[in-house]
C-alpha cells in the first residue's frame, strides 16, 4: 500500500507527472534484487517484437541488471483474459513488480485490486489502465491525434479535403487518436471534409484502402494516419497522387519516404510512442520498489519530428517496419536501432 506524498518525483526529469494534480506515490522500499515481470499481450507485430527486444536490452544493461534477480516476459496473445490470468499468476508467484502492455485499458480492475492487496507494483504502459491504483506510463494518445490535427490545420490555411486512415475499430487507441484529430481540426475553425477509412495499423491494408479512397474520393489536400503510413505513401506514389502534408506515426519506412520526397511536397510530421517506452515503465517500477517517489501517472514525451536526418530521425539501412523514436534522453534511455533489433537470444 503506497503512501501518497507530495512531489516532485525523485527523478523529476524523467518521471514527469501527467497532470498538475497527479498524485505522487511512495511505496515501502523493498530490498533488491527484484523479480520483475512483463505481461505482454499480442506479439506477432513489429512494434511488440521491438518492444520485447527493448525490454530485454534494458534489463541487460549492467546497472539495471544489478538490481534484477529475474526478468520474465510472457506474451499471451489477443485474448484479454489470458493476460489477466498471467498477471494473476505473477502475483501468486511472488513477483515484486509487473509491467503490463494491456490489450484493453478497462478490463483489469479485478486484477489491479489483487495486485494492490498483494503489495505488487503494477506499471502499465502503451495502453494504460483506467485506474489510480496502478502506475501508468502514459502516452497521450488523444494528444497524439491532436498533434497531427493541429499540424494539418496549420498546413492547410484554407481547410480542405483530408484523408484520415484510422486503426482497428473498437479499440481505445483508435478512438482516442481519432477524437484528437477531429477535435483539433474542428478547433481550427476551418472547413475540413474528412474521409475516414480503416487501415488497421497495417501497411498492406492501409495501402489498399488509401488507393480505393483516392480513386473514388480523391484527390486529397492532406493525410493523417495512425499507422501503416509507409503503405499509404506507397499508395500515393502508385496512384500518381500529388504529395500532400501528412501527419503520421514513427515508422522508419515512413520517415525514409518523408526525407526522400520532402522537396516534392511530402511534408510530414511523424509522431508517436516508440516501443522503448517499456524501458521507462521498467525504470518506474524499479524506482517504486526502491521506495522512491514516483507520480501515479508518468507523462512520456512524444517523439515528434518534422525534419528528418538520416541516422538520427531515421535509419536508411534498417527495416521499414522499424519504429523510430527510441530515446528518452531525460530518462537516460537511448537505444539505437542496431542495439534493439540485433539483440539476440544469446547475448541477453
Amino acid at each position: 500500500e503506497p503512501k501518497v506524498v507530495s512531489g516532485p518525483a525523485d527523478e523529476a526529469e524523467c518521471f514527469a507527472p501527467w497532470k498538475n494534480d497527479t498524485k505522487f506515490l511512495s511505496f515501502d522500499a523493498k530490498k533488491g534484487p527484484y523479480r520483475i515481470a512483463l505481461a505482454n499481450g499480442y506479439i506477432a507485430n513489429t512494434w511488440r517484437i521491438q518492444m520485447v527486444q527493448t525490454a530485454k536490452a534494458y534489463a541487460a544493461q549492467p546497472e539495471v541488471a544489478a538490481k534484477l534477480k529475474e526478468f520474465k516476459v510472457v506474451s499471451t496473445g489477443e485474448d484479454v483474459p489470458a493476460q489477466i490470468s498471467a498477471i494473476n499468476n505473477f502475483i501468486d508467484s511472488g513477483y515484486d513488480a509487473i509491467v503490463v502492455d494491456a490489450q484493453n485499458p478497462t478490463a483489469f480492475a479485478p486484477v489491479i485490486r489483487r495486485a494492490k492487496q498483494a503489495g505488487v507494483v503494477l506499471v502499465a504502459f502503451d495502453n494504460t489502465l483506467d485506474t489510480e491504483d496502478a502506475i501508468n506510463v502514459n502516452v497521450d494518445q488523444k494528444g497524439l491525434g491532436a498533434i497531427w490535427g493541429e499540424w494539418l490545420a496549420s498546413h492547410l490555411p484554407q481547410g480542405g479535403k483530408v484523408l484520415e486512415v484510422r486503426g482497428v475499430a473498437g479499440t481505445s487507441v483508435d478512438t482516442d487518436r481519432h477524437d484528437g484529430v477531429q477535435e483539433a481540426l474542428a478547433a481550427s475553425g476551418k472547413e475540413f471534409k474528412v474521409t475516414e477509412v480503416m487501415g488497421k495499423w497495417d501497411d498492406a491494408v492501409a495501402q489498399k484502402v488509401t488507393a480505393d479512397a483516392i480513386a473514388t474520393n480523391g484527390p486529397f489536400d492532406a493525410i493523417t494516419a495512425q499507422g501503416g503510413d509507409t503503405g499509404i505513401v506507397q499508395a500515393l506514389i502508385d496512384a500518381g497522387h500529388p504529395f500532400v502534408p501528412f501527419g503520421g506515426e514513427t515508422e522508419n519506412g515512413f520517415r525514409k519516404f518523408c526525407a526522400q520526397y520532402a522537396d516534392q511536397g511530402l511534408k510530414c510530421t511523424s509522431a508517436g510512442s516508440g516501443p522503448a517506452q517499456v524501458a521507462v515503465a521498467m525504470k518506474v517500477a524499479i524506482a517504486a520498489l526502491e521506495g522512491k517517489t514516483v507520480p501515479q501517472a508518468v507523462k512520456l514525451p512524444l517523439a515528434v519530428a518534422s525534419e528528418f536526418k538520416a541516422g538520427q530521425d531515421y535509419f536508411p539501412d534498417a527495416s521499414d517496419n522499424f519504429f523510430v523514436g527510441n530515446s528518452f534522453p531525460t530518462c537516460g534511455i537511448n537505444f539505437t536501432a542496431q542495439e534493439i533489433m540485433s539483440q539476440s537470444q544469446t547475448n541477453q
Partner: protein, 316 residues
C-alpha cells in the same frame, strides 16, 4: 442466348450479375467506381486474393480446409525478402524461395492430413501457429531484411501489357492452369473424386494420400506466392500481413458455388467470388459509414447473395 451462356451454371451467372449490381450501387455513391483506373486497381488487389483462393478452392474441393493461409503468406513474403539480402543470386531467387517456404508448410499440412489423418482444420491451425512462431523468432532475432525486391515489385505492380497490372496477368495464368487442371487432368479428377468419397477413390486405386498432400503443397505454395506479390505491392514484408486474407478466401470460394463438403465447384465461380468479395470490401471501405455499419452490411450482403444463388438443393 449465346451458347456459352446457356451452358454456364446459373449460379455463376447470378454471381456475375451481383458484381454488376454492386458496381452500380457504388457508382451512385461516387462515379469514381466506374473508372477504368479504379477497376484495374481492384483487379490488381483481387489478384492476390484470387491466387490464394485458387489453392483454397482445391483444398475445399477435397473436402478439407487450409487455415494456414495467413502465415504461409507472411512466411513466403518474409523469406523471399530475406533471400534478397543474400545478394544478386538471392535477389533473383527471392520469389521462388518464398514459394518454396510456403510449399514446406503445405508439406507439413499434407503429411498431417493425408498420412497422419489429422483433421485438416486443426493441422493447418497448428501449422499456422508454428509458422507464426518461426516468423516472430526470425523478426526478433535476426534484424531481418524485409524490403521487397524489384522483381517482386514488378510482378505485383508492373505492367507488361500497358494498363493491365502484372498481378492480374499472373492470376490469369494461374486461373487458366487451374481450370484446365481441374477439368482435364488426372490430378483434377482425383481431387473431385476424393472430395466426393475418399474411400471410393482409394478403392479405385488412386493414390489418394499423395494427391491430398500434393494439393496442400500447391495451396501452401500459392499462398506464399500471393504473399511475395503482396510484399511487392506494399514494397515490403511485414508481420501478420496475411491475416486479412483467410476468411475472404474461404468466402470467395464458397460464394463462387463450391461446396464446402468437397467434390463440387467450378473455378469460374471462384473468380466471380473473388471479385465479389474484393469489390464489396473496397466499396464498403470508402463509403463513409461507421465501421459498425460496414460490418453489418458486409454480412447482410453476403447472406443475401447466397440466398439468391448459393442454396443447396432441398432434401426432397
Amino acid at each position: 442466348m449465346p451458347a456459352f451462356l446457356r451452358r454456364a451454371d446459373p449460379a455463376v451467372l447470378i454471381a456475375f450479375a451481383c458484381i454488376l449490381v454492386l458496381l452500380l450501387i457504388g457508382s451512385i455513391y461516387s462515379p469514381g467506381f466506374l473508372t477504368a483506373k479504379y477497376l484495374l486497381q481492384q483487379l490488381k488487389v483481387a489478384s492476390f486474393l484470387g491466387i490464394i483462393a485458387t489453392g483454397t478452392m482445391i483444398i475445399i474441393l477435397l473436402g478439407h480446409i487450409d487455415l494456414s493461409v495467413p502465415w504461409a503468406m507472411t512466411m513466403g513474403a518474409m523469406m523471399g525478402c530475406a533471400a534478397a539480402a543474400l545478394g544478386p543470386v538471392g535477389s533473383a531467387l527471392a520469389v521462388p524461395f518464398g514459394i518454396l517456404c510456403g510449399m514446406a508448410i503445405g508439406l507439413v499440412n499434407g503429411l498431417g492430413v493425408a498420412y497422419l489423418r489429422i483433421p485438416s482444420m486443426i493441422v493447418t491451425l497448428a501449422s499456422n501457429a508454428v509458422t507464426q512462431g518461426l516468423m516472430v523468432v526470425y523478426t526478433g532475432g535476426y534484424a531481418p531484411q524485409d524490403a521487397a525486391t524489384p522483381a517482386m515489385r514488378f510482378l505485383a505492380t508492373g505492367e507488361t501489357i500497358p494498363g493491365l497490372p502484372n498481378a492480374a496477368l499472373i492470376w490469369a495464368v494461374i486461373g487458366t492452369l487451374a481450370i484446365l487442371g481441374l477439368r482435364r487432368s488426372v490430378f483434377g479428377r482425383a481431387v473431385f473424386g476424393i472430395g466426393n468419397s475418399e474411400r471410393a477413390a482409394y478403392m479405385s486405386g488412386v493414390g489418394t494420400r499423395r494427391i491430398v498432400m500434393l494439393a496442400f503443397v500447391v495451396s501452401g505454395g500459392l499462398s506464399a506466392f500471393a504473399g511475395t506479390l503482396l510484399a511487392g505491392y506494399a514494397s515490403k514484408a511485414s508481420q501478420s500481413m496475411g491475416d486479412t486474407y483467410l476468411l475472404p478466401a474461404i468466402a470467395a470460394v464458397v460464394l463462387g458455388g463450391t461446396s464446402i463438403l468437397g467434390g463440387r465447384g467450378s473455378y469460374v465461380g471462384t473468380i466471380a467470388g473473388v471479385i465479389l468479395v474484393t469489390l464489396l470490401q473496397s466499396i464498403l471501405s470508402v463509403m463513409q459509414l461507421p465501421e459498425a455499419g460496414r460490418q453489418i452490411i458486409h454480412g447482410l450482403v453476403i447472406i443475401v447473395m447466397l440466398l439468391l444463388y448459393g442454396r443447396t438443393p432441398a432434401a426432397r
